[in-house]
Every structure is written in C-alpha cells, then in structure tokens.
Symmetry: C2
Subunit: 343 residues, 2 copies
C-alpha cells in the first residue's frame, strides 16, 4: 500500500482543511495517509469528520512553520516542525512514499532539498505549476498546462531546460493521462533561433530526443490558448508569468463584481450568465488539480496551494498516490537519460 505523508500544519487553513481533506482521501483512495503535526488537535478534528481509521495514522510533531516565515531560518529553528518531520519520514525508506504540503513554498522546497536526493541524471529540480487554458487534453480532458520552472531556479542552463522538459513530460503523462504531451519552450518567437542562447541550445537538443512530442517554441500568446501541454522556462519568467495570470484573473473578477453592483441591468446580466461563469470556474479550478509537483527528487512532493481547502488536499493526495503507483521517479530517470544521449 502507498503511504502519503501530509504536513497537517501547513497552509492558510491548517490543520482543519488539511485534516478534512485527508479524511476524504481515506474514504476514496487505496492509500494510507500519515498526518504529521499536533497529535491532540488532529485527533480531535478527525473525531468530527467521516474517515477510514484503517487508512489514517497520526504522527506527532510539536512545531508548525508559519506561512510568512523566512525558509532557511524557520527550518533551522524548528527541527520538530510538521514539515521537517514529514520530509524525514518520506526520506527514510518504509515510512511514507510521497509528501503533500500546503505550507510556505520556499520552506517546502528547501525541506525537500535537505531530506531528499536528486534522481540520477537530474541536475536541477523544478517546481511545476498548473495553468488553466482554453484547450482540453489527455484522457482526462483536463484544461491544464504544466509550466516549469515556476520559481525554484532564476537562471538556467540549456541542460536545465532540457531536464525540465523531460521531467514535465513524465509528470504530465501520468497526471493528465496523456501519453505524449506536447512539450514546448517559452520564447520570444516561434523560430528555433529565437530566445536566449540557453533556449536556442535546448531547442536543438530537444528536437533530437526520441519518444517525446517536442513542438518547438511557443510565445506568451500561446499560454492561455493551451497550445502546449508542458511549457518550459526559467524560474524568473515562470514566476512573472504565473503571477500575471493571477493578476489578470483578479482584474476580471473585480470588473464582474463592479458590473454586478453598478446597474440593475448589469446585475440581471450577471445573473443570466451565472451558469456559464460557474462552468468556467469548474474547468479552471486549480483545486481539482491538487497542487504543484516539485520534480526531480527521488521522492515526490506535491506543493498544494496555501489557500487549499479539503478538496484540493484530497486531490493532491490522490495525485501523489497515482505518481507513486506509476513510478514517476523511474519514468523521470528514463526520460532524462534519453535526453542526455543527445546533449
């Protein structure tokens, strides 16, 4: 049986939302969930919700890393925090197979880097983010594109970009049930000569790699269109891209709210549109995707959104389970080795 360690104290709504999400997962998956954190509080919360006691265990950790911490300082000051204890349990063979945390992103990445090892052949790990797009893809018909790196590495070499592409391909094939995801490099033009020297060199390598569907460069305009299933870039560009999408979505929400309040006719219009808006929200809802994987370590970590509710946590646990069962680490190793033959 697969065991997923869950950092019960990480996230804006922890531990309540995390415990509830784990309880839901215990009823709908084959995995065992290991909830790490304040034993008394977790047990109390579990007493209030339906769950399968055969599939949930609690592991005590006396400290909790706050969301607005400085990662390095926090990890050093709190060796018995739920995050540090959970990563240790995952790192030590036999205790747990993967980690789910909705805690501070920097702290989660650093805790993984401290406790886990890189997969042979992986030079640099990456945080992959999930972006809703216009297009549906894979057997699951999901509308998401995977973008990596989303902020772990500001500057990258050509080999790093190639590694990100191969890791993203391995992950997308499992999670979106998409055998041959379309992989692209994000650049300032679609021609192979466009972009920084690193992008141009990565392009040359990826063209020659067999077994993947490399579609070349995509531009910013292709991101919301969903032209690629996996978009590869450096962490600086990934960060700006993701945050701008968040800003645009907030602006659209603000405009809709304004329209709703401003005029009776606009209010009526928004009401008439509500079924459509609900549908857009459903297909673009990040909570159904669970979270952002940190790719490249021998153990998988799914970084759930800080604002995750129970559903996002449950889905993150499910995604982690699927990746363990389908040997994501092994697939990444094979993929990366295939690319290295061309470098």
């Amino acid at each position: 049986m697969v065991t997923i360690a869950v950092d019960a104290m990480g996230g804006d709504n922890a531990p309540d939302a995390v415990v509830r999400g784990a309880a839901e997962a215990s009823l709908s998956t084959d995995s065992e969930v290991l909830l790490v954190g304040d034993e008394k509080r977790i047990t109390e919360l579990l007493g209030q919700v339906r769950h399968d006691p055969e599939r949930i265990r609690v592991h005590g950790a006396s400290q909790a890393i706050p969301m607005d911490c400085k990662p390095r300082e926090a990890l050093e000051a709190m060796p018995d925090s739920s995050l540090v204890v959970a990563t240790r349990l995952v790192a030590a063979e036999g205790h747990a197979d993967a980690l789910v945390s909705a805690g501070n992103t920097g702290a989660v990445i650093l805790a993984c880097a401290t406790a886990f090892k890189c997969i042979p052949g992986v030079r640099r790990t990456a945080l992959a983010a999930v972006i809703p797009t216009e297009r549906r893809r894979g057997k699951k018909q999901d509308p998401f594109t995977l973008l990596l790196d989303a902020g772990a590495t500001l500057r990258v070499s050509a080999d790093d970009l190639v590694g990100f592409a191969m890791m993203g391909a391995a992950y997308a094939s499992i999670v979106s049930k998409n055998d041959k995801p379309r992989i692209a490099l994000l650049s300032n033009g679609t021609e192979p000569t466009k972009g920084t020297p690193e992008i141009v060199a990565a392009h040359q390598t990826l063209v020659g790699v067999e077994g993947i569907d490399f579609i070349g460069n995509v531009e910013g305009i292709d991101i919301p269109r969903g032209k690629a299933d996996v978009i590869v870039c450096d962490g600086f560009t990934g960060n700006i891209t993701l945050k701008m999408l968040e800003g645009v979505s907030q602006t659209v929400t603000n405009l809709a709210r304004y329209a709703y309040r401003r005029k009776v006719s606009w209010k009526l219009a928004m009401w008439l549109l509500s079924s459509g808006i609900k549908r857009i929200k459903e297909i673009t809802d990040w909570q159904q995707y669970g979270g952002a994987p940190i790719l490249g370590f021998d153990r998988l970590c799914i970084k759930a959104h800080g604002r995750s509710g129970p559903r996002a946590i449950r889905n993150a646990i499910k995604v982690a389970e699927r990746c363990v069962k389908q040997d994501l680490a092994g697939r990444i190793e094979t993929h990366v080795a295939a690319a290295q033959r061309h470098q």
Copy 2:
C-alpha cells in the same frame, strides 16, 4: 513648427489608414505632416478626405517594406523604401523632427538604429509598450502603464535597466502628464534582494536617484492592477508579458463570443452588458495611446501598432508632436545623467 515624418506605406492597413490618420492630424494639431511613400497613391487618397493642405506634404519613396519581412535583408534590399527615406529625412537636420511608422517592428527599430544617434549617456535604446490597467493616473487620467523594454534587448545589464527606468520616467511625464510617474522594476518578489543580480543592482542604484518616484520591485500580479506607471524589465520578459496579455484578452473575447452564441439567456446577458463592455473597450483601447515609443535615440520614433486605423495614426502623430515640443530627448539626457551620478 514641428514636422512629423510618417511612413505612409507601413502597416496592415497602409497606405489608406495612414493617410486618413495624417489627414485627421492636419486638422487637429499644429504640426506639419510629411507623408513618405508612393506619391501618386497618397495624393489620390488625400483627394478623398478632408485635410489641411497647408499642413501636409508628400515626399516620394518608390519602395515599401512588407510587414512579414526579414528586417536586415529588407532594409538592405530597399534603400528607397518609405521607411528608410522617412528615417533619413528625420535624421537630417531640418527636414522632420520625429517619425511615426506602423510597419514591421524589427525593421523600424533597425532603420532608426541605422539613421539616428543615441542620446549622450544612453547605452541602449528600448521599445516601450503600453498596457491597459485597472488604475487611472496623471492629469489625463489614463489607465496605461508603460512597460520597457518590450523586446529590443533580450538580456540587459543593471545599467541598462537603470537607463530604461530614467527614459520611461521622462516619456511618461510628458505623455500621461504625470509629473512624477511611479517607476518600478519587474521581479519575482517585492523585496530589494529579489531578482537576478542585474535587477538587485539596478534597484540599489534607483533607490539613490533623486527626482524620480522609484517604488521598488513589482511582481507579475501588480501589472494589471496598475501599481506602477513605468515597469522596467529585460526585453525577453517584456515580450513574454505583453504577448501573454494579448493571449488572455483573446481568450476572454472568445469566451464572450461563445456565451453570445450558446444560449438565448446568455445572448440577452451580453446585450445587457454591452454598455459596460464598450466602456472597458474605451478605456483599454490602445488606439487612443497612439503607439509604442522607441526611446534613447536623438530622434523620437513612435512605432504604431501594425493593425492601426486612422485614429491610432492621428494619436501617434499627436504624441510625437507633444514629445518634440516638450523636448523629450533633452529630458531623457537630464534624467539619464542624474542616474549616472549614482552608478
């Protein structure tokens, strides 16, 4: 009197839209417009529209550079193209003071770089783009943020970023009638330590420069919010950012169209919202802004959008006129010198 040279053959709708825009400008500004291109065709078109013949002259040029050209090859092959002739007229003292072109962006930048000189102290010129935001600013209450570099220089040094900031400040102060525009660096975090080494160093310099309102780093999420009036980044990031905004806006339009066709109730809703949508279109309409300035040359060039209609061309001519009258080049020189005392 200020003379603005206009590349009559550049743009998707040239020469018709360009000649019409110039005709409108001749009736509403104090400048003289010098239309450069196919004399016969321009004269014919002018005969069909209201214009002030005292304020429009035509200068013949036998060739026209196509929109989908390769810039370097096209410029070399067409020494008598409207673009090349127009830049030459602007470069030679006394013929014209500034250039407006809606032609191929790469060709326009290259033609300027060939014919014009850099302002003393300017190391690198930049293409500045205009982004609609939620916030209104300046005496004109316009909702636009200036983003530079928008794609001229993929990789920049710290000094380049500082130069872009100072040039953007000078331009925004004239065009948005905003005495002290808020200047920011685009980065992956608001703290002064966040970003590439170039961004961190540029931040340190800009903090010490007097006479500007440097508000520090902004993140991607702050772009649509309009937190800054001038946003500074390298050309790669600027290109991705702009094109992604274009993509998102297309996606929103597609969704609205889909809603309109899908259900009678949604159609009614879109009709009820139409006054609001019109208002959003009005305040975010790039045509009112005229175009993107190329900053740093001793002569100004306004690169109008390829799809420009007459109104965009007229506004680009007006913006160019205002910049010449208010000595943009002199202001940039002063601004850049102020920053260099701190580098």
